[in-house]
Amino acid sequence: MNIRTARVDDLLGMQAANLQNLPENYVMKFWIYHAMTWPQISFVAEDHKGRIVGYVLAKIEEEPNDNGEIHGHVNSISVLRSHRRLGLAKKLMLLSQEAMASIYKATYVSLHVRKSNKAAIALYRDTLGFEVAEVEKKYYGDGEDALSMRLLLTAS
């Protein structure tokens, strides 16, 4: 399994991962914008044939908050079912977090997750150390609540 930074033309290759895991898809504009603006915090995992089996798409929140802190945000993360249980999601997340902290000096990283997505919540909370910051009611198109989760990034 190889992990590398994402490129614009990966957009076409990520479709399989998207079909399976993303009920609410981001628009192309976002992907291109992210790839252009923060080229080093989004990653893809590819198998030996070069087919994309997982990815993390992230951005830097440009507006600093009241404390003048800059933070990163994970827009989406996805791993093909056939390549689960290999620690890929964790690897992808760690790489993105590391890049957010070291390149952009982000103080924390945030993300949204479906309340029902137990497996993902377990990964974020138990494996990666995220905490629930708040519950956003009816965040998703189908009316489901989102947990807004955060993780402090210690300067490395």
């Binding site: 399994m1 033309d9 399989a16 192309m28 080229p39 689960r84």
Partner: protein, 933 residues
Amino acid sequence: MTSLALERQIRPIYAPALDALDTGSNKSAIVDCNKLLKKHPKNTLLKSLKALALVRSQKVEESLVLCDDVLASKPTNDAVLTAMMHVLRGLGRHKDAIAMFEEAFKQQPANEELGAQTFFSNVRAQQWKAAQQVATRMYKQFQEDRYLYGANDPETPANMRTILYKLAHRQITSSPTPSYLSADRFYLHLSILRELELFDEAHKLIDSEVGESICATSLSCNELRRDIWKLRGLLKEEGDRAKRLIVEKKDRNWLEFLSVVSAAFVAVSSPGAGEDAKKEASERVKETQQILEKIAEEDGAKDRSGLLALLELEKRALAFGVSSQSDRLVTLMKQYFDQIGDKACCFEDLKPYVELEGDDLAHWTTFLRGIPSTITNTNELRRLINAYKLLRYNFAKTELTVEAETERAELYTKKYIETLPLGANLPSTELQPADDLVILAGNAFVSLWSLTSNNDFLYRASSLLEFALTKSKQSFLSRLMLIRIYRLLGAPSLSLEHYRAMQVKQVQHDTLSHYILSRASLFSLAATGDITLATECIESTQIYLSNSQETGDFIARAFTAEKYSQIPEFIEFEQRLENSLQRDIVKVEHVRMRLTHEPVNSDLVDMELIELKFLYDRIHYDNRDFEILPNYQPRVSKGFNEQTLLLGKSDGASWLSEFLRIYVRAFQQASDLDDTVEEKLLIGDRPKHVLGGASLVDRIRQRKEDSLADLTSDEIAFSDFAQTLADWLEPYHNYARPPPAVVLAEAAKQTQLKTGHPLKGVEIPANGTNGTHKKDEEPPAVIDAPELLTNYFNNIKTRFAEALKNSPVEALHVATLAQEAFLLFIVETMRFKSPSVVKANKLGALVTSCKSVRVHALSILKEIATALIKRADSEGTVDKRKAFVEACSVISSSKPIDHDYVLNVAKRVTDARKKVLECIGKGISKISTSYSS
């Protein structure tokens, strides 16, 4: 009113007007503009905004007048230019946009922003050379390095790429802050150096202390470093470095392992390597083996890289003849399966290594057969599934008999039912662990169908997959298989249902719409007024419109932000979508559907001619995703994709080329628009002519024989028909087509009537014309209709009877092609329907000839329509449902897939099939009536 007050009034129109594709507010924008224009009739900003709102409301003719008005005023105002840029883009007038900016820049040569816009407009229109000239001018003017371009002639995107990189290089090296201060800029710097092949400079950068430390922590920089080393041929050094990373830093990226493996074979990699080299390599292989074994042992099941690398090492050692132990590969594979067999990726991981023969294969097969099939947990289940997949992959041709495959399909089904309870407690959003067994069964059923052509196997596959979907709602793999199977069964509405359930979005329209739209016109009910599939065509192509809008903007933004090195990536991405093969295949399918739905007239013909001409010379990118279909067929057999292609043929680039040729030629003959008329009348840029080549009209006259490979035999017959028809009628069209001056005069008259404005640059002759004109030469002698035209319909009759016996899909294919041939005939003979044209050109005999072909075709079409409707009556009956259910009894003998469940699937399939047969029949009948006289 003060100018300030006016500006306040314009602002609310301006801002929303520039919000791309916001069609809702166009109407009110037009009203607002009109109000203000009454008071300020000369205001160019108002005019340009109104033009924009008009373009977006499809009122092209009205907007043209305003657009030309504004252009004539040579605007330099930023807001006007921006609005006009959108107007001209909407009209496809990229060249005018360039001219507009160039003019503005000429008027205000000190305005840097205008220069940049001129540059972008050239880049957007892919006028690389002009873009470079603008940049040179800007460099002279502003003395800024960013405008300094290399000496290369940027006539191609590739050269443009180099230029952009040189620009980026100059920028980064001249910056007072060195790039190594941030990983971000260091990465950029390295990527520029790699692109420009400045390896020495790159090496210096990487070798520095800071460089080394960045590469050690930044994955992206390290990736570039690896590339650069490899490009310089430093395989051995790269291997050593990777080894350190793996051993000391516990790096587990696969590319590092590949570097280590590759380094072992450096000695034997060059041609003509002798025994000494082999000996050296063999030593290195042994060393590498020891390192990897240690890692595999340490990692265990936690990480599979070490084990996989051992396999890769052994595979290459065998290929180079430096392996020390002949049965080592199988041993390693067994070891791999023992460790990783309970992960879903095991099959894909081992696939590159399992192409075994002889004893090796026998050992491997025995090993896999020994995997326990009594399942108590999901780990055991995954192990069993991997064993099934691996065994199946290696079946020999002799093992693919109907009996053996039936037994396997039943085994996979049985195991599925048995192990389904393992996932009983999962939430409904999760996928069932047993799903892959259904997918295996589906593969086996399809394999049986391709062995026997017996639809019973497809009935079983569809019932089983439908059932699996009730347990795993998100299983898009089951859906994709069902989409293909239902199309084969002639139940297209069910395919569409599943396709829509996948909620295809964005770029997926480009990569996946082929599953539903490939040869979709054969299922189109547009003739009866049901335009579901035609609408699907239009919807799937929205992505291309937003692509050209968005990516263009991003290119401009990247330039402004001085992120030059990213521009080539954007350009390449835009090109891939803009020139997508699927996009134009869908366009052709839509034209085929449209002809059955709308009356054939000159408006339709002219419009489609102009659009299709654009496509003919395109170089296409095939972005269609076939890999996503789950394929577990044995390697000696065809894959699932090939097996389930509609009519057994893929509609690739050559299919597109032939259908485009047929339609462009027919439309060109039927149309009055020749190149000179088009130049005057049409809005937007014309396709570039192939340099030095023959004109399009000449090139489409002859069929490219190699383009027939993708066509079915029925489509080839249709192509023969089209060719003969066009060859026969060409001289009469060329004689009877009114000369350009007459066409232009008529168009000018119509425009004046419609818009109240005269047509720019066209004089209406004072005496007018009535559509006829004197000719100097005699009309070409009329020859009788070639026999092939009549024979075509005779043959269709026989072919249809035969196809109806084979399968409903084949029957629909033949029937819709007959209908298409007839409609093509209507297009080609439209000109000769007008009595005045016939009289003026003395073509009475031709009309008689045409009539006899038409009458004959009509009689056969009516027979086909009746037969289809009759066949539809026999579908959707109790008997048909019963047959379906009986065919599925092997999979539905016990719970949870019971009789009632299968009966429901049976009803849906037979009803869907009934509907398509009936509606296509009625459609043909309707068309026959519409064109009966």
